[in-house]
Symmetry: C2
């Protein structure tokens, strides 16, 4: 993760994402409180996997007096609602690219720049499920992370 390209989502897309989150939580009765919504907004806006302390810093920069548990609790909630995924290999959190869909996600994570690409996937999940059944493992629908190099980083990062 050397040359981390800064990339922000367009405001319109952020608003759309948040509106969908509002609708989803309203439908399920989950409470997307202002605090949680603020954290989600920060995750969505960054448009890439972000660390918890990075989010915490942004919260503080906006005048919020918070401690780590604040952010981690919000992230836990957002993960439960399927609005955010944790990328274990990067210790980072990324907004789900298609929340609400009971999806089987495949997430490519670029080890150069830290960006991630989430795909709706059936083929990979099917082959994993088949292999899992063969050895008796039960696998829920959590996203599968795959490390790699993104197209931009394959060229000399322009």
């Amino acid at each position: 993760m050397s040359g981390l390209r800064i990339k922000y989502l367009k405001p319109a897309l952020v608003a759309e994402h948040l509106a969908r989150a509002d609708a989803l939580c309203a439908a399920t009765g989950a409470r997307l409180t202002p605090l949680r919504r603020r954290v989600l907004e920060l995750v969505v806006r960054s448009g890439r996997p972000v660390g918890a302390y990075e989010l915490l810093d942004q919260m503080r920069a906006c005048g919020h007096k918070g401690a780590p548990p604040t952010v981690y609790r919000a992230l836990d909630f957002l993960q439960q609602q399927g609005l955010v995924h944790r990328i274990a290999m990067a210790n980072a959190y990324v907004a789900c690219s298609h929340p609400g869909c009971d999806h089987h996600a495949l997430i490519f994570v670029c080890t150069e720049c830290g960006n991630a690409l989430e795909l709706e996937e059936t083929q990979v999940k099917a082959s994993v499920a088949a292999r899992a059944e063969a050895v008796g493992f039960r696998v829920p629908g959590q996203p599968i992370e795959v490390a790699g190099t993104c197209p931009l980083c394959q060229e000399g990062r322009p």
Copy 2:
């Protein structure tokens, strides 16, 4: 990872694993020093993913005066040689089940007991590779981790 079942590999299997590591490193010219070999032995013996500090404690219990870098450096080396895999989702390290083979591994990790099962896989890797190519990602042959529940933990862990 509540009821972590303790499980040790049989001494004969450990010796076999170490012998293979010796042969592999001899062939490539990599220096499997006593320290590195000792760390590998501890990883192999435990027969499941183990944390770096867990290994450090075991080193110390055997009279070795070491600090975290000691273990982390050895683990780095062992990973480079393909003798050990890091399980990102568990912050743990596990001995490769078939070192030397240029394998495409799929690792099922039980979130209940922490055990892991490494499989030689072609179907899953093939579908991942196809998907990666479609979006321009380049994916090296690192193991893919899949969270799940192992057969033993599905029953009431006997």
